[in-house]
Protein backbone atom coordinates (compact mmCIF):
# COMPACT_ATOMS: atom_id res chain seq x y z
CA UNK A 1 0.00 0.00 0.00
CA UNK A 2 2.53 2.49 1.21
CA UNK A 3 4.92 1.92 -1.64
CA UNK A 4 2.05 2.39 -4.07
CA UNK A 5 1.32 5.84 -2.66
CA UNK A 6 4.99 6.69 -2.79
CA UNK A 7 5.49 5.80 -6.41
CA UNK A 8 2.47 7.88 -7.41
CA UNK A 9 4.10 10.82 -5.73
CA UNK A 10 7.33 10.10 -7.55
CA UNK A 11 5.58 9.99 -10.86
CA UNK A 12 3.99 13.35 -10.20
CA UNK A 13 7.24 14.76 -8.91
CA UNK A 14 8.92 13.70 -12.13
CA UNK A 15 6.11 15.24 -14.12
CA UNK A 16 6.71 18.55 -12.38
CA UNK A 17 10.38 18.24 -13.18
CA UNK A 18 9.61 17.54 -16.79
CA UNK A 19 7.48 20.64 -17.12
CA UNK A 20 10.08 22.88 -15.54
CA UNK A 21 12.87 21.52 -17.71
CA UNK A 22 14.36 24.14 -19.94
CA UNK A 23 16.71 21.92 -21.94
CA UNK A 24 14.73 21.33 -25.11
CA UNK A 25 15.91 19.66 -28.29
CA UNK A 26 13.30 19.52 -31.05
CA UNK A 27 10.68 19.93 -28.38
CA UNK A 28 11.98 16.95 -26.37
CA UNK A 29 14.06 17.67 -23.27
CA UNK A 30 17.57 16.30 -23.73
CA UNK A 31 18.99 14.40 -20.79
CA UNK A 32 22.42 13.75 -22.20
CA UNK A 33 24.18 15.53 -24.97
CA UNK A 34 27.69 14.57 -26.10
CA UNK A 35 29.62 16.28 -28.85
CA UNK A 36 33.02 14.96 -29.94
CA UNK A 37 33.34 13.30 -26.57
CA UNK A 38 36.86 11.93 -26.23
CA UNK A 39 38.89 10.05 -23.64
CA UNK A 40 42.60 9.41 -24.03
CA UNK A 41 44.81 7.32 -21.78
CA UNK A 42 48.28 8.50 -22.68
CA UNK A 43 48.68 7.83 -26.40
CA UNK A 44 45.72 5.50 -26.48
CA UNK A 45 42.30 6.84 -27.45
CA UNK A 46 39.62 4.85 -25.66
CA UNK A 47 36.72 7.02 -26.82
CA UNK A 48 37.23 8.87 -30.07
CA UNK A 49 35.11 11.95 -30.78
CA UNK A 50 31.67 10.44 -30.39
CA UNK A 51 28.47 12.50 -30.53
CA UNK A 52 24.97 11.54 -29.46
CA UNK A 53 21.86 12.87 -27.74
CA UNK A 54 19.54 11.05 -25.38
CA UNK A 55 16.07 12.52 -24.87
CA UNK A 56 14.17 12.13 -21.60
CA UNK A 57 12.54 8.77 -21.06
CA UNK A 58 14.48 6.93 -23.72
CA UNK A 59 16.18 3.59 -23.23
CA UNK A 60 19.51 4.08 -24.93
CA UNK A 61 21.91 1.21 -25.55
CA UNK A 62 25.67 1.07 -26.06
CA UNK A 63 26.80 -2.06 -27.84
CA UNK A 64 30.27 -3.06 -28.89
CA UNK A 65 32.96 -5.70 -28.50
CA UNK A 66 35.30 -5.83 -25.49
CA UNK A 67 37.40 -2.71 -25.27
CA UNK A 68 35.12 -0.68 -27.54
CA UNK A 69 34.93 2.11 -24.98
CA UNK A 70 31.45 1.51 -23.58
CA UNK A 71 32.35 1.60 -19.90
CA UNK A 72 34.61 4.58 -20.45
CA UNK A 73 31.70 6.44 -22.06
CA UNK A 74 29.37 5.39 -19.25
CA UNK A 75 31.77 6.66 -16.61
CA UNK A 76 32.15 10.02 -18.32
CA UNK A 77 28.36 10.40 -18.41
CA UNK A 78 28.18 9.39 -14.74
CA UNK A 79 30.57 12.25 -13.90
CA UNK A 80 33.10 9.86 -12.40
CA UNK A 81 35.67 10.14 -15.18
CA UNK A 82 37.00 13.39 -16.59
CA UNK A 83 36.84 13.63 -20.37
CA UNK A 84 39.91 14.60 -22.40
CA UNK A 85 38.09 16.58 -25.04
CA UNK A 86 34.69 17.45 -26.45
CA UNK A 87 31.49 18.69 -24.88
CA UNK A 88 29.26 16.83 -22.50
CA UNK A 89 26.11 17.96 -20.73
CA UNK A 90 23.90 15.92 -18.44
CA UNK A 91 20.59 17.68 -17.79
CA UNK A 92 22.33 20.75 -19.13
CA UNK A 93 25.02 20.52 -16.46
CA UNK A 94 28.75 20.31 -16.96
CA UNK A 95 30.29 17.22 -15.29
CA UNK A 96 33.68 18.71 -14.37
CA UNK A 97 32.16 21.63 -12.49
CA UNK A 98 28.87 20.14 -11.30
CA UNK A 99 29.78 16.53 -10.54
CA UNK A 100 27.91 16.10 -7.24
CA UNK A 101 24.80 17.84 -8.62
CA UNK A 102 24.72 15.62 -11.70
CA UNK A 103 25.33 12.48 -9.73
CA UNK A 104 22.31 13.23 -7.53
CA UNK A 105 20.14 12.55 -10.61
CA UNK A 106 21.83 9.27 -11.44
CA UNK A 107 21.67 5.65 -10.43
CA UNK A 108 24.80 3.81 -11.40
CA UNK A 109 25.35 0.09 -11.80
CA UNK A 110 29.06 -0.25 -12.60
CA UNK A 111 30.41 -3.15 -14.61
CA UNK A 112 32.16 -4.47 -11.51
CA UNK A 113 30.29 -4.54 -8.23
CA UNK A 114 31.78 -2.24 -5.62
CA UNK A 115 29.65 -3.03 -2.61
CA UNK A 116 30.94 -2.16 0.85
CA UNK A 117 32.25 -5.48 2.14
CA UNK A 118 32.59 -4.17 5.69
CA UNK A 119 28.82 -3.66 5.90
CA UNK A 120 25.78 -5.92 5.86
CA UNK A 121 23.28 -6.07 3.00
CA UNK A 122 20.74 -3.63 4.44
CA UNK A 123 23.50 -1.36 5.73
CA UNK A 124 24.88 -1.12 2.20
CA UNK A 125 21.55 0.32 1.05
CA UNK A 126 21.20 2.59 4.08
CA UNK A 127 24.64 4.18 3.81
CA UNK A 128 24.31 4.60 0.06
CA UNK A 129 21.13 6.57 0.59
CA UNK A 130 22.87 8.60 3.27
CA UNK A 131 25.62 9.50 0.79
CA UNK A 132 22.86 11.23 -1.18
CA UNK A 133 21.76 13.05 1.96
CA UNK A 134 18.45 11.19 2.25
CA UNK A 135 16.83 10.86 5.65
CA UNK A 136 16.91 7.61 7.61
CA UNK A 137 13.12 7.65 7.88
CA UNK A 138 12.68 7.77 4.12
CA UNK A 139 15.37 5.17 3.61
CA UNK A 140 13.84 2.63 6.01
CA UNK A 141 10.79 2.24 3.77
CA UNK A 142 12.82 2.44 0.61
CA UNK A 143 15.21 -0.29 1.72
CA UNK A 144 12.31 -2.67 2.38
CA UNK A 145 10.93 -1.98 -1.06
CA UNK A 146 14.32 -2.52 -2.72
CA UNK A 147 15.08 -5.71 -0.81
CA UNK A 148 11.75 -7.06 -2.05
CA UNK A 149 12.59 -6.06 -5.58
CA UNK A 150 16.04 -7.67 -5.40
CA UNK A 151 14.56 -10.68 -3.59
CA UNK A 152 17.12 -10.35 -0.85
CA UNK A 153 14.80 -9.96 2.15
CA UNK A 154 16.09 -13.12 3.79
CA UNK A 155 19.68 -11.95 3.27
CA UNK A 156 19.22 -8.49 4.75
CA UNK A 157 21.48 -9.23 7.72
CA UNK A 158 24.10 -11.17 5.77
CA UNK A 159 27.54 -9.87 5.05
CA UNK A 160 28.11 -8.91 1.44
CA UNK A 161 30.85 -11.51 1.02
CA UNK A 162 28.37 -14.24 1.91
CA UNK A 163 26.23 -13.45 -1.15
CA UNK A 164 26.49 -15.32 -4.44
CA UNK A 165 27.71 -13.43 -7.51
CA UNK A 166 24.19 -12.95 -8.85
CA UNK A 167 22.90 -11.77 -5.48
CA UNK A 168 25.66 -9.18 -5.29
CA UNK A 169 24.64 -8.00 -8.75
CA UNK A 170 21.04 -7.69 -7.63
CA UNK A 171 22.09 -5.73 -4.57
CA UNK A 172 24.16 -3.38 -6.72
CA UNK A 173 21.14 -2.79 -8.96
CA UNK A 174 18.89 -2.20 -5.96
CA UNK A 175 21.45 0.21 -4.54
CA UNK A 176 21.39 2.24 -7.76
CA UNK A 177 17.67 2.87 -7.24
CA UNK A 178 17.95 4.21 -3.69
CA UNK A 179 17.85 7.87 -4.74
CA UNK A 180 14.96 7.36 -7.20
CA UNK A 181 17.19 8.39 -10.10
CA UNK A 182 15.99 10.10 -13.25
CA UNK A 183 18.76 8.51 -15.26
CA UNK A 184 19.72 4.94 -14.63
CA UNK A 185 23.14 3.89 -15.93
CA UNK A 186 23.52 0.13 -16.26
CA UNK A 187 26.88 -1.29 -17.35
CA UNK A 188 26.22 -4.93 -18.26
CA UNK A 189 23.55 -5.21 -15.55
CA UNK A 190 22.50 -8.79 -16.22
CA UNK A 191 25.92 -10.40 -16.54
CA UNK A 192 25.91 -13.20 -13.98
CA UNK A 193 22.17 -13.19 -13.40
CA UNK A 194 20.03 -16.30 -13.80
CA UNK A 195 17.12 -16.18 -16.31
CA UNK A 196 14.53 -15.50 -13.59
CA UNK A 197 16.45 -12.55 -12.19
CA UNK A 198 17.07 -11.28 -15.72
CA UNK A 199 13.37 -11.24 -16.54
CA UNK A 200 12.47 -9.63 -13.23
CA UNK A 201 15.01 -6.90 -13.97
CA UNK A 202 13.69 -6.35 -17.49
CA UNK A 203 10.21 -6.05 -16.10
CA UNK A 204 11.37 -3.55 -13.50
CA UNK A 205 13.25 -1.53 -16.10
CA UNK A 206 10.14 -1.35 -18.27
CA UNK A 207 8.18 -0.02 -15.33
CA UNK A 208 10.83 2.57 -14.53
CA UNK A 209 10.74 3.64 -18.15
CA UNK A 210 6.99 4.10 -17.92
CA UNK A 211 7.60 6.45 -14.99
CA UNK A 212 9.82 8.54 -17.24
CA UNK A 213 13.24 7.28 -16.12
CA UNK A 214 15.91 7.48 -18.80
CA UNK A 215 17.92 4.27 -19.17
CA UNK A 216 21.48 4.05 -20.45
CA UNK A 217 22.52 0.48 -20.88
CA UNK A 218 25.41 -1.58 -22.14
CA UNK A 219 25.08 -5.28 -22.76
CA UNK A 220 26.64 -8.14 -24.65
CA UNK A 221 23.24 -9.87 -24.91
CA UNK A 222 21.68 -8.85 -28.19
CA UNK A 223 18.26 -10.16 -27.18
CA UNK A 224 18.41 -7.88 -24.17
CA UNK A 225 19.32 -4.88 -26.30
CA UNK A 226 16.52 -5.70 -28.74
CA UNK A 227 14.03 -6.05 -25.88
CA UNK A 228 14.98 -3.00 -23.88
CA UNK A 229 16.49 -0.34 -26.09
CA UNK A 230 14.50 2.25 -28.01
CA UNK A 231 17.66 3.31 -29.73
CA UNK A 232 21.27 2.24 -29.65
CA UNK A 233 24.74 2.89 -30.89
CA UNK A 234 27.21 0.22 -31.92
CA UNK A 235 30.75 1.19 -30.92
CA UNK A 236 34.06 -0.25 -32.00
CA UNK A 237 37.55 1.00 -31.13
CA UNK A 238 36.14 4.10 -29.49
CA UNK A 239 34.04 5.16 -32.48
CA UNK A 240 30.37 4.91 -33.34
CA UNK A 241 29.81 2.44 -36.18
CA UNK A 242 26.04 2.75 -36.40
CA UNK A 243 23.12 4.37 -34.64
CA UNK A 244 19.38 3.75 -34.74
CA UNK A 245 16.45 1.76 -33.42
CA UNK A 246 16.97 -2.02 -33.34
CA UNK A 247 14.46 -2.48 -36.18
CA UNK A 248 16.11 0.18 -38.33
CA UNK A 249 19.57 -1.22 -37.75
CA UNK A 250 18.41 -4.68 -38.78
CA UNK A 251 16.78 -3.27 -41.89
CA UNK A 252 19.86 -1.26 -42.79
CA UNK A 253 22.64 -3.70 -42.02
CA UNK A 254 21.03 -7.08 -42.47
CA UNK A 255 18.32 -8.77 -44.55
CA UNK A 256 14.87 -9.68 -43.34
CA UNK A 257 15.74 -13.35 -42.92
CA UNK A 258 18.79 -15.55 -42.57
CA UNK A 259 19.26 -19.08 -43.88
CA UNK A 260 21.79 -21.13 -41.95
CA UNK A 261 23.07 -24.25 -43.71
CA UNK A 262 25.68 -26.86 -42.76
CA UNK A 263 27.51 -29.09 -45.20
CA UNK A 264 30.14 -30.48 -42.84
CA UNK A 265 33.21 -28.45 -42.08
CA UNK A 266 35.46 -29.80 -44.87
CA UNK A 267 32.94 -29.06 -47.63
CA UNK A 268 31.99 -25.52 -46.60
CA UNK A 269 34.60 -23.68 -48.66
CA UNK A 270 33.92 -25.64 -51.83
CA UNK A 271 30.15 -25.20 -51.54
CA UNK A 272 30.55 -21.49 -50.89
CA UNK A 273 31.64 -20.96 -54.51
CA UNK A 274 28.47 -22.55 -55.84
CA UNK A 275 26.24 -20.53 -53.55
CA UNK A 276 27.45 -17.15 -54.84
CA UNK A 277 24.60 -14.98 -56.01
CA UNK A 278 21.93 -16.38 -53.76
CA UNK A 279 20.43 -13.86 -51.35
CA UNK A 280 21.90 -10.43 -50.63
CA UNK A 281 25.07 -11.52 -48.84
CA UNK A 282 26.85 -14.68 -47.74
CA UNK A 283 28.94 -15.31 -44.65
CA UNK A 284 31.10 -18.44 -44.59
CA UNK A 285 31.90 -19.61 -41.09
CA UNK A 286 33.97 -22.63 -40.10
CA UNK A 287 30.93 -24.69 -39.16
CA UNK A 288 28.14 -23.23 -41.28
CA UNK A 289 27.20 -20.83 -44.05
CA UNK A 290 24.82 -17.91 -43.51
CA UNK A 291 22.76 -16.66 -46.42
CA UNK A 292 21.14 -13.27 -45.86
CA UNK A 293 17.97 -12.98 -47.93
CA UNK A 294 14.57 -11.34 -48.05
CA UNK A 295 13.09 -14.83 -47.89
CA UNK A 296 15.03 -17.67 -46.29
CA UNK A 297 12.76 -20.34 -47.77
CA UNK A 298 13.29 -18.85 -51.22
CA UNK A 299 17.06 -19.02 -50.76
CA UNK A 300 16.81 -22.64 -49.65
CA UNK A 301 14.76 -23.53 -52.77
CA UNK A 302 17.36 -21.87 -54.99
CA UNK A 303 20.03 -23.91 -53.20
CA UNK A 304 18.31 -27.23 -53.89
CA UNK A 305 17.70 -26.14 -57.48
CA UNK A 306 21.48 -25.85 -57.85
CA UNK A 307 21.78 -29.41 -56.62
CA UNK A 308 23.17 -28.60 -53.19
CA UNK A 309 21.91 -30.67 -50.28
CA UNK A 310 22.82 -29.29 -46.85
CA UNK A 311 23.03 -31.65 -43.87
CA UNK A 312 20.89 -29.27 -41.83
CA UNK A 313 19.16 -26.01 -42.65
CA UNK A 314 17.44 -23.36 -40.56
CA UNK A 315 15.52 -20.25 -41.55
CA UNK A 316 15.21 -17.47 -38.97
CA UNK A 317 14.50 -13.78 -38.78
CA UNK A 318 17.47 -11.50 -38.85
CA UNK A 319 18.50 -10.27 -35.41
CA UNK A 320 20.60 -7.57 -33.84
CA UNK A 321 23.34 -10.14 -33.42
CA UNK A 322 23.71 -10.31 -37.21
CA UNK A 323 24.02 -6.53 -37.35
CA UNK A 324 26.55 -6.53 -34.53
CA UNK A 325 28.75 -9.17 -36.13
CA UNK A 326 28.58 -7.49 -39.51
CA UNK A 327 29.61 -4.13 -38.06
CA UNK A 328 32.30 -5.26 -35.67
CA UNK A 329 33.65 -8.34 -37.43
CA UNK A 330 33.67 -11.94 -36.32
CA UNK A 331 37.25 -12.34 -35.18
CA UNK A 332 38.58 -11.50 -31.75
CA UNK A 333 41.04 -8.74 -32.64
CA UNK A 334 42.03 -6.63 -29.67
Amino acid sequence: MISGVKSTNNAMGRLLHLMSDSQLHNGVPSMISARNLTKEYGDFTAVDHISFEVPRGEAFGLLGPNGAGKSTTMRMIAATLARTDGELAILGKEPNAQGPEIRAHLGVVPQQDNLDSELKVHENLMIYGRYFGLSRKFLKGKIDELLDFAQLQDKRDSKVNELSGGMKRRLTIARALINEPEILMLDEPTTGLDPQARHILWDRLFRLKELGVTLILTTHYMDEAEQLCDRLIVMDKGRIMAEGTPANLIREYSSREVLEVRFGSNKNAEVAEQIQGIGERIDVLPDRILVYAESGEGALEELTRRGLEPLTSLVRRSSLEDVFLRLTGRSLVE
Binding site: T80, Q98, V108, I127, R130, Y131, S135
Partner: protein
Amino acid sequence: MILAAALDSAVAIASRRANRLGSSVYAGRSLVMVERSLMALKTSNWFAVLSGFVEPVFYLASFGFGLGGLVGNVSEGGSASVSYATFIAPALLATSAMNGAIYDSTWNVYFKMHFGKIYHGILATSMGALDVALGEIVWALLRGLAYAIGFMCIVYPLGLVPSTWGLLAIPAAVLIAFGFASFGMAITSYMKSFQQMDWVNFIMLPMFLFSGTFYPLDVYPSWLQTVIQALPLYQAISMERAIMLGQFDASLLWHVLYFVVMIASGLVFTTRRLTALFMR
Protein backbone atom coordinates in the same frame (compact mmCIF):
# COMPACT_ATOMS: atom_id res chain seq x y z
CA MET B 1 2.66 16.01 -0.02
CA ILE B 2 4.25 16.36 -3.41
CA LEU B 3 6.20 19.39 -2.34
CA ALA B 4 7.55 17.61 0.72
CA ALA B 5 8.65 14.64 -1.37
CA ALA B 6 10.32 16.90 -3.89
CA LEU B 7 12.17 18.85 -1.19
CA ASP B 8 13.64 15.69 0.26
CA SER B 9 14.83 14.21 -3.02
CA ALA B 10 18.52 13.67 -3.64
CA VAL B 11 18.35 16.21 -6.44
CA ALA B 12 16.82 18.90 -4.23
CA ILE B 13 19.41 18.24 -1.55
CA ALA B 14 22.27 18.51 -4.03
CA SER B 15 20.93 21.61 -5.74
CA ARG B 16 20.94 23.52 -2.46
CA ARG B 17 24.70 23.71 -2.74
CA ALA B 18 24.75 24.57 -6.44
CA ASN B 19 27.11 27.35 -7.50
CA ARG B 20 28.77 27.57 -4.11
CA LEU B 21 32.52 27.72 -3.94
CA GLY B 22 33.99 24.21 -4.10
CA SER B 23 30.69 22.56 -5.04
CA SER B 24 32.52 20.34 -7.54
CA VAL B 25 34.33 18.53 -4.72
CA TYR B 26 32.25 19.22 -1.61
CA ALA B 27 28.60 18.46 -0.88
CA GLY B 28 28.71 19.22 2.85
CA ARG B 29 28.17 15.62 3.89
CA SER B 30 31.54 14.50 5.21
CA LEU B 31 29.92 13.31 8.44
CA VAL B 32 28.19 10.55 6.48
CA MET B 33 31.67 9.03 6.17
CA VAL B 34 31.81 8.98 9.97
CA GLU B 35 28.40 7.28 9.98
CA ARG B 36 29.81 4.64 7.68
CA SER B 37 32.82 4.08 9.91
CA LEU B 38 30.53 3.69 12.93
CA MET B 39 28.52 1.06 11.02
CA ALA B 40 31.72 -0.75 10.09
CA LEU B 41 33.11 -0.57 13.63
CA LYS B 42 31.71 -4.00 14.50
CA THR B 43 34.00 -5.66 12.01
CA SER B 44 37.13 -3.79 13.05
CA ASN B 45 40.09 -5.40 14.74
CA TRP B 46 39.72 -4.57 18.41
CA PHE B 47 43.12 -5.91 19.30
CA ALA B 48 44.77 -3.43 16.94
CA VAL B 49 42.60 -0.63 18.35
CA LEU B 50 43.60 -1.42 21.91
CA SER B 51 47.29 -2.01 21.24
CA GLY B 52 47.66 1.49 19.78
CA PHE B 53 46.33 2.89 23.04
CA VAL B 54 48.32 0.85 25.54
CA GLU B 55 51.69 1.48 23.89
CA PRO B 56 52.20 4.99 25.35
CA VAL B 57 50.80 3.76 28.67
CA PHE B 58 53.53 1.11 28.81
CA TYR B 59 56.15 3.74 28.04
CA LEU B 60 54.84 5.86 30.87
CA ALA B 61 54.99 2.92 33.28
CA SER B 62 58.47 1.71 32.36
CA PHE B 63 60.22 5.03 31.56
CA GLY B 64 58.28 7.42 33.77
CA PHE B 65 58.22 5.34 36.90
CA GLY B 66 60.99 2.80 36.29
CA LEU B 67 63.68 4.93 34.73
CA GLY B 68 62.33 8.09 36.37
CA GLY B 69 63.58 6.89 39.76
CA LEU B 70 67.15 6.98 38.43
CA VAL B 71 66.78 10.25 36.53
CA GLY B 72 65.28 12.41 39.24
CA ASN B 73 63.85 15.81 38.29
CA VAL B 74 64.13 17.44 34.85
CA SER B 75 63.95 21.02 33.68
CA GLU B 76 63.91 22.35 30.14
CA GLY B 77 64.96 25.81 29.04
CA GLY B 78 65.11 27.31 32.51
CA SER B 79 61.58 26.32 33.57
CA ALA B 80 60.80 24.89 36.99
CA SER B 81 62.01 21.34 37.41
CA VAL B 82 59.40 18.54 37.48
CA SER B 83 59.46 14.80 38.08
CA TYR B 84 60.53 12.70 35.11
CA ALA B 85 57.06 11.13 34.77
CA THR B 86 55.50 14.59 34.69
CA PHE B 87 58.02 15.59 32.03
CA ILE B 88 57.26 12.74 29.62
CA ALA B 89 53.48 12.53 30.23
CA PRO B 90 52.66 15.39 27.76
CA ALA B 91 54.94 13.82 25.15
CA LEU B 92 53.19 10.48 25.49
CA LEU B 93 49.77 12.13 25.31
CA ALA B 94 50.79 13.81 22.06
CA THR B 95 52.04 10.44 20.82
CA SER B 96 48.70 8.83 21.74
CA ALA B 97 46.85 11.38 19.66
CA MET B 98 49.25 10.78 16.79
CA ASN B 99 49.02 6.98 16.97
CA GLY B 100 45.25 6.97 16.89
CA ALA B 101 45.09 9.37 13.98
CA ILE B 102 47.77 7.64 11.95
CA TYR B 103 46.36 4.13 12.21
CA ASP B 104 42.99 4.93 10.63
CA SER B 105 44.29 7.41 8.11
CA THR B 106 47.06 5.19 6.74
CA TRP B 107 46.48 1.43 6.83
CA ASN B 108 42.69 1.54 6.85
CA VAL B 109 42.58 4.11 4.07
CA TYR B 110 45.16 2.18 2.05
CA PHE B 111 43.03 -0.93 2.24
CA LYS B 112 39.86 0.90 1.21
CA MET B 113 41.61 2.54 -1.71
CA HIS B 114 43.23 -0.50 -3.21
CA PHE B 115 41.17 -3.51 -2.21
CA GLY B 116 37.73 -2.46 -1.05
CA LYS B 117 36.88 -0.24 -4.06
CA ILE B 118 34.77 1.59 -1.51
CA TYR B 119 35.66 5.09 -2.66
CA HIS B 120 34.66 4.21 -6.24
CA GLY B 121 31.16 3.51 -5.01
CA ILE B 122 30.96 6.59 -2.84
CA LEU B 123 32.21 8.96 -5.53
CA ALA B 124 29.48 7.72 -7.86
CA THR B 125 26.95 9.37 -5.51
CA SER B 126 26.47 13.08 -4.95
CA MET B 127 29.33 13.07 -2.45
CA GLY B 128 32.48 14.95 -3.45
CA ALA B 129 36.13 14.05 -3.04
CA LEU B 130 36.54 16.58 -0.22
CA ASP B 131 33.58 15.03 1.63
CA VAL B 132 35.34 11.67 1.53
CA ALA B 133 38.73 13.10 2.52
CA LEU B 134 37.37 15.22 5.36
CA GLY B 135 35.08 12.46 6.64
CA GLU B 136 37.84 9.87 6.78
CA ILE B 137 40.17 12.36 8.43
CA VAL B 138 37.58 13.29 11.04
CA TRP B 139 37.08 9.62 11.84
CA ALA B 140 40.81 9.11 12.26
CA LEU B 141 41.03 12.20 14.42
CA LEU B 142 38.23 10.89 16.66
CA ARG B 143 40.32 7.85 17.34
CA GLY B 144 43.33 10.01 18.18
CA LEU B 145 41.10 12.04 20.48
CA ALA B 146 39.81 8.92 22.21
CA TYR B 147 43.39 7.75 22.85
CA ALA B 148 44.33 11.16 24.23
CA ILE B 149 41.31 11.26 26.55
CA GLY B 150 42.08 7.74 27.72
CA PHE B 151 45.66 8.72 28.43
CA MET B 152 44.55 11.82 30.31
CA CYS B 153 42.27 9.66 32.44
CA ILE B 154 45.38 7.82 33.55
CA VAL B 155 47.85 10.66 34.10
CA TYR B 156 45.50 13.20 35.72
CA PRO B 157 44.57 11.04 38.73
CA LEU B 158 48.24 10.15 39.10
CA GLY B 159 48.97 13.83 39.69
CA LEU B 160 51.13 14.17 36.58
CA VAL B 161 49.25 17.30 35.43
CA PRO B 162 50.27 20.09 37.85
CA SER B 163 47.45 22.54 36.98
CA THR B 164 43.82 22.09 35.97
CA TRP B 165 44.61 24.27 32.95
CA GLY B 166 46.50 21.21 31.77
CA LEU B 167 43.17 19.74 30.70
CA LEU B 168 43.41 22.08 27.71
CA ALA B 169 45.76 19.40 26.43
CA ILE B 170 42.63 17.61 25.14
CA PRO B 171 41.54 20.32 22.66
CA ALA B 172 45.19 20.56 21.67
CA ALA B 173 45.14 16.81 21.06
CA VAL B 174 42.24 17.34 18.62
CA LEU B 175 44.43 19.71 16.66
CA ILE B 176 47.33 17.27 16.72
CA ALA B 177 45.20 14.30 15.68
CA PHE B 178 43.56 16.37 12.92
CA GLY B 179 46.98 17.36 11.61
CA PHE B 180 48.38 13.84 11.60
CA ALA B 181 45.20 12.33 10.15
CA SER B 182 45.14 14.88 7.36
CA PHE B 183 48.84 14.49 6.59
CA GLY B 184 48.67 10.69 6.95
CA MET B 185 45.81 10.36 4.51
CA ALA B 186 47.50 12.66 2.01
CA ILE B 187 50.66 10.55 2.09
CA THR B 188 48.71 7.29 1.94
CA SER B 189 46.84 8.43 -1.13
CA TYR B 190 50.17 8.56 -2.98
CA MET B 191 51.34 5.13 -1.80
CA LYS B 192 51.28 2.35 -4.35
CA SER B 193 52.48 -0.72 -2.46
CA PHE B 194 52.80 -2.28 0.96
CA GLN B 195 56.56 -1.68 0.82
CA GLN B 196 55.94 2.03 0.56
CA MET B 197 53.48 1.81 3.43
CA ASP B 198 56.21 0.28 5.58
CA TRP B 199 58.06 3.56 5.28
CA VAL B 200 55.39 5.10 7.46
CA ASN B 201 56.38 2.77 10.31
CA PHE B 202 60.03 3.27 9.55
CA ILE B 203 59.72 7.02 10.00
CA MET B 204 57.35 6.95 12.95
CA LEU B 205 59.65 5.13 15.36
CA PRO B 206 62.71 7.42 15.22
CA MET B 207 60.43 10.45 15.21
CA PHE B 208 58.87 9.13 18.42
CA LEU B 209 62.24 8.47 20.07
CA PHE B 210 64.06 11.67 19.16
CA SER B 211 61.44 14.45 19.22
CA GLY B 212 62.23 15.59 22.73
CA THR B 213 59.99 12.85 24.05
CA PHE B 214 62.23 11.50 26.78
CA TYR B 215 64.76 14.31 27.30
CA PRO B 216 65.09 18.01 26.49
CA LEU B 217 66.22 18.91 22.99
CA ASP B 218 69.35 20.81 24.15
CA VAL B 219 71.45 17.64 24.25
CA TYR B 220 71.66 17.85 20.43
CA PRO B 221 73.93 20.12 18.33
CA SER B 222 72.02 23.17 17.19
CA TRP B 223 71.67 22.12 13.52
CA LEU B 224 70.00 18.87 14.61
CA GLN B 225 67.73 20.80 16.95
CA THR B 226 66.52 22.83 13.98
CA VAL B 227 65.76 19.69 11.98
CA ILE B 228 63.83 18.12 14.82
CA GLN B 229 61.90 21.31 15.53
CA ALA B 230 60.51 21.07 12.01
CA LEU B 231 58.99 17.62 12.68
CA PRO B 232 55.28 17.45 13.48
CA LEU B 233 55.70 15.26 16.54
CA TYR B 234 58.17 17.72 18.09
CA GLN B 235 55.62 20.49 17.51
CA ALA B 236 52.92 18.36 19.10
CA ILE B 237 55.04 17.43 22.10
CA SER B 238 56.25 20.89 22.84
CA MET B 239 52.70 22.27 22.53
CA GLU B 240 51.32 19.67 24.95
CA ARG B 241 54.24 20.13 27.33
CA ALA B 242 53.72 23.88 27.47
CA ILE B 243 50.02 23.39 28.17
CA MET B 244 50.32 20.62 30.74
CA LEU B 245 53.15 22.32 32.62
CA GLY B 246 51.32 25.64 32.55
CA GLN B 247 53.76 27.63 30.36
CA PHE B 248 51.28 29.63 28.33
CA ASP B 249 53.02 32.08 25.99
CA ALA B 250 53.10 33.28 22.39
CA SER B 251 55.09 30.26 21.18
CA LEU B 252 51.88 28.24 21.57
CA LEU B 253 50.39 30.19 18.69
CA TRP B 254 53.19 29.04 16.41
CA HIS B 255 52.45 25.44 17.23
CA VAL B 256 48.77 26.02 16.50
CA LEU B 257 49.64 27.66 13.21
CA TYR B 258 51.90 24.73 12.33
CA PHE B 259 49.01 22.30 12.72
CA VAL B 260 46.53 24.50 10.89
CA VAL B 261 48.87 24.52 7.89
CA MET B 262 49.36 20.77 8.19
CA ILE B 263 45.60 20.17 8.24
CA ALA B 264 44.89 22.45 5.30
CA SER B 265 47.66 21.13 3.07
CA GLY B 266 46.75 17.53 3.91
CA LEU B 267 43.13 18.19 2.89
CA VAL B 268 44.12 19.87 -0.35
CA PHE B 269 46.50 17.09 -1.40
CA THR B 270 44.11 14.30 -0.40
CA THR B 271 41.22 15.86 -2.30
CA ARG B 272 43.35 16.36 -5.40
CA ARG B 273 44.70 12.87 -5.24
CA LEU B 274 41.28 11.25 -4.72
CA THR B 275 39.99 13.19 -7.70
CA ALA B 276 42.95 12.06 -9.78
CA LEU B 277 42.65 8.44 -8.70
CA PHE B 278 38.93 7.94 -8.95
CA MET B 279 37.76 10.51 -11.48
CA ARG B 280 40.51 10.32 -14.12
